[in-house]
């Protein structure tokens, strides 16, 4: 078993030991191609590391938490983050560490290196899924190289790799990862060439940029593109890029720099260069006996091969499913900053204006025809904002993930979600709504007469200041009987809302638990690790993450206001039909209502769901999910299946639902804990639970059918476990 091998020794090793990339590089060197100085940390090292430290079983335990098919993408991302954190915080066993240090110290003379993945599973078809694993450019020093080797090992379990686990044959028991350590060649131009164009086998295709190749493979820069006839190496076409920037080595890692004026107007490859690269590709195809996808760079006129792998002639199926969309959510810092500007300065203000404009319209003055048209218009407005929600707001949520990874890489906390503590104390709309509710509850708490008036259903005779607050609340958030913020009429009156206020008033106020001093100290602990430029980057990333975290909640409430305006128009139509009769209103009006999936007259609120597994012999005792908010709490379960169930919520109950929406979280100040079927650490239920310091467990498959309202449940938010019933055996 060899833990680290030089390029000269690599050809003697199997594909399983040095991985696909390593084997290809060794073969290229043997065949006379120029490649950078290279070393391979073998897959045996990976194997030894995960076996000796118990990491293998920890990974398996993480991945067996629930059936893969029941895991949402968010849960896959969470699992991947936790596994990454395991690698980051796990020390390498001393014997392996000593060997790595010795080998790297004698090989490495403090030159910058690239640390690349070389997975053993990479076969011809799997290699086409490029970008599943990580590579790190411009790494200095033995310690840092070893730390990056660990990160590359961890990337065997990246979220993308987990998503494509079937295609790449990812198997927690067998999969291994070798790591290539290569001297960094900072070439003037770099690129990728396909010796056979997958869409036209008579051509070869190459793309090139100025500077480091990472700028191209990471999709940061637009490349120039050439098509070349394979039969006579004649250039068929050259598509010029809008050349502006290049990627260069920075003090740590890489940075994007503007191109000189001269370079912006000159392609990165001359005609001779193109022919040289084409010739290289043809030779690589010949020695490997199949079409190759070759990465290369040109330094001082010398063409150097960085890596080569087989081209699959058919595009993998990733274009055909939604995983591509999910992976497109991984945005760069720059792209997220631009997105934030657009969202905060254009989209959100426009969304608010649109909702306010609709709210300001007096629907009563419209004729039936005009109302029917208005309903149609509001539906279109809602669809437009729904599309924007998916296209712009959801990708922006990636800001939290980007920060999380940065935080974990630099701080290496034991709890991979420590960074979430830094995101709190942000001003979320759902919390502003809950504060207004608490304000009403506090008025009731201190005013016996008001309490009696509410108990007797005489809220109209209540104190004017209370009524003003009530009206302001309903105007802003609706009477809470609809699943949508701002709909006033779902229960034909504020009784449900007042019942909730009374329930809150009967118990001491539940305050948001976020402690600004703790957050400040966590923040300082984080920022003080950096100086100068890096500190500025850390501050910017944190600021972006906070905006991203806040928007994740607020966008739902703002979107709900748009939806509420559509519902208000539909309710106006419904009341006209009730009043005049179906045959007396314009025909278009009833059509608009039925097209909205509603009957002409809205159905009354359905009673609270009590259905469970009563008739079954099987009952849950302990359900395992993800820990999403620390703490332990016990209380009767309240299963929420629709908005009406929320109004029956009582103090001390455990909120159990399929998926918490920010429009539902007004009951959270009454709850003892939150349990959600949908999984994830950064979902709404988890966010608000943390704000109130409530235990929270997410990702429990089938929980709303397994547990029934009234069951005694204990929520362990440290371990992610929900226990049903008491410990006594009856």
């Amino acid at each position: 078993m060899k833990w680290i091998v030089s390029l000269e020794d690599m050809p003697e090793q199997t594909h399983l030991t040095v991985g696909g990339k390593g084997a290809a590089l060794a073969f290229l060197a043997k065949s006379g191609f120029v490649i950078p100085k290279t070393l391979c940390v073998t897959a045996d090292s990976y194997d030894y590391f995960i076996t000796r430290t118990g990491l293998r079983e920890r990974i398996l335990l993480e991945l067996s938490r629930k059936d893969y098919n029941d895991m949402r993408w968010e849960e896959i991302w969470d699992a991947s983050l936790r596994i990454r954190s395991m690698f980051l915080t796990q020390q390498i066993p001393e014997d392996l560490s000593t060997q790595l240090h010795q080998a790297l110290s004698s090989w490495h003379s403090n030159e910058a290196v690239v640390v690349r993945s070389s997975a053993s599973d990479e076969d011809a078809s799997a290699t086409s899924f490029a970008g599943l694993h990580e590579s790190y450019v411009n790494i200095h020093g033995v310690e840092s190289i070893i730390e990056h080797v660990k990160l590359v090992w961890a990337s065997l379990w990246s979220d993308a790799a987990l998503l494509y686990r079937q295609e790449i044959g990812l198997d927690a028991d067998k999969s291994r990862m070798a790591v290539i350590v290569q001297k960094l060649i900072s070439g003037q131009s770099s690129g990728v060439v396909f010796s056979t164009n997958p869409t036209d086998p008579s051509q070869l295709v190459m793309e090139s940029i100025y500077g480091l190749n990472q700028g191209l493979v990471d999709g940061l820069l637009e490349p120039d593109r050439w098509l070349v006839d394979r039969s006579n190496l004649r250039i068929l076409s050259h598509t010029e890029a809008h050349r502006e920037k290049m990627l260069v080595p920075a003090e740590l890692g890489t940075k994007v720099e503007p191109l000189s004026k001269e370079k912006t107007s000159k392609p990165p490859l001359s005609r001779e260069d193109v022919l040289k690269v084409a010739d290289l590709a043809m030779r690589a195809e010949k020695v490997f006996g199949q079409p190759q996808d070759v990465e290369w760079t040109i330094k001082d006129g010398k063409l150097i091969v960085l890596q080569s792998r087989p081209v699959t002639m058919l595009e993998p199926s990733r274009g055909e499913d939604e995983r591509t969309w999910y992976l497109s959510l991984r945005r760069s810092f720059e792209s997220l900053k631009n997105l934030r500007r657009k969202i905060e300065h254009e989209l959100i203000p426009a969304m608010v204006r649109e909702a306010e404009h609709m709210a300001g319209q007096n629907l009563k003055t419209l004729s039936d025809e005009a109302l029917s048209k208005e309903i149609g218009r509001r539906k279109a407005v809602e669809s437009k904002w729904n599309a924007i929600y998916w296209e712009e707001y959801i990708p922006f949520a990636h800001g939290v993930r980007l920060f999380g990874q940065f935080y974990n890489d630099t701080v290496r906390p034991i709890d991979p979600y420590e960074f979430v503590g830094l995101l709190g104390a942000t001003e979320m709309e759902s919390l502003a709504r809950n504060r207004m509710l608490e304000e009403m509850a506090s008025m009731v708490r201190s005013n016996r007469q008001l309490e009696e008036q509410l108990v007797n259903g005489e809220y109209l005779s209540a104190d004017q200041s209370f009524l003003d607050l009530l009206h302001r609340f309903i105007e802003q958030f609706g009477d809470l009987s609809c699943a949508v913020t701002g709909v006033v009429q779902c229960s034909q009156g504020p009784e449900g809302l007042l019942r909730l206020v009374r329930e809150m008033a009967a118990h001491p106020a539940q305050q948001v638990s976020t402690n600004s001093k703790e957050i400040e100290s966590l923040k300082n602990g984080f920022l003080n690790r950096f100086s100068d430029e890096k500190r500025l980057l850390a501050e910017e990333l944190l600021d972006l993450a906070r905006a991203s975290y806040r928007l994740r909640d607020d966008d739902n409430i703002k979107l709900a206001r748009i939806e509420a305006q559509k519902l208000t128009a539909i309710q106006e139509a419904e009341s006209r039909i009730m009043e005049k009769g179906l045959d007396k209103v314009a025909p278009g009006l009833a059509d608009e209502i039925s097209a909205s999936g509603r009957t002409a007259v809205s159905s009354p609120i359905t009673p609270t769901h009590e259905a469970g597994m009563d008739d079954e012999k099987v009952k849950p005792r302990q359900l395992r999910g993800q820990p999403a908010g620390p703490g332990i709490a016990r209380g009767p379960a309240r299963i929420i299946k629709d908005a009406a169930d929320l109004l029956a919520f009582k103090h001390g109950e455990v909120l159990i639902c399929d998926a918490v929406d920010p429009n539902m979280t007004f009951v959270v100040p009454l709850a003892a804990a939150i349990v959600e079927r949908r999984g994830g650490m950064l979902i709404h239920g988890a966010i608000i639970a943390r704000e109130y310091g409530l235990p929270c467990v997410t990702g429990l498959s089938g929980v709303i059918d397994l547990i029934k309202t009234g069951d005694l449940v204990t929520v362990d938010g440290f371990l992610g476990v929900v226990t049903v019933g008491s410990a006594e055996l009856k």
């Binding site: 398996l60 335990l61 067996s64 012999k617 099987v618 302990q622 395992r624």
Partner: protein, 150 residues
């Protein structure tokens, strides 16, 4: 039948097919006691059977308190047991099968453990039947489901 019930019953049946031994818990004057026994379960999962010599401590314990718990699992003494192993705890009440029922019980027991025929047919050996009240199925490290039999 509800999907959950089917899943739990099937998992328990599968385990009982591959596992021959279980750990029996008895108690005497508040002192718990554990013993390894060869068991067999009936088709309905309503009863578990095992054989023991009447001179044993477990037999003595059962005479004073017939309430038992029994653990059956699929562990293989590897790290992977932590995420892969399935364990079932049964609780119920034990009683000795005597008289005419015994011969039928012994045949049923030997159908799974034919090598124990000399042992189980010995004069001093008792065949014990546990009437199971509830099974607790543990899988995926911490997922626990209850199957109520009676």
């Amino acid at each position: 039948m509800h999907e959950n019930t089917r899943y739990v019953e099937e998992t328990i049946r599968k385990l009982f097919q591959i596992q021959k031994l279980g750990v029996l818990s008895t108690q005497n004057s508040g002192q718990p006691y554990a013993s390894l026994v060869a068991f067999v379960a009936d088709e309905e999962l309503a009863h578990l059977y095992f054989a023991t010599a009447r001179t044993t401590r477990k037999y003595h314990n059962l005479e004073t308190d017939p309430r038992v718990a029994m653990l059956m699992d699929s562990r293989s003494n590897l790290d992977s047991d932590i995420h892969e192993a399935v364990a079932v705890t049964a609780i119920g009440t034990a009683s000795e099968i005597r008289g005419q029922d015994k011969s039928h019980g012994v045949n049923f027991y030997l159908s799974k453990h034919p090598y124990l025929q000399d042992f189980v047919r010995a004069e001093s050996c008792a065949l014990i039947r546990i009437a199971v009240k509830t099974y607790y199925l543990v899988s995926r490290f911490q997922q626990v489901m209850e199957l109520h039999i009676s």
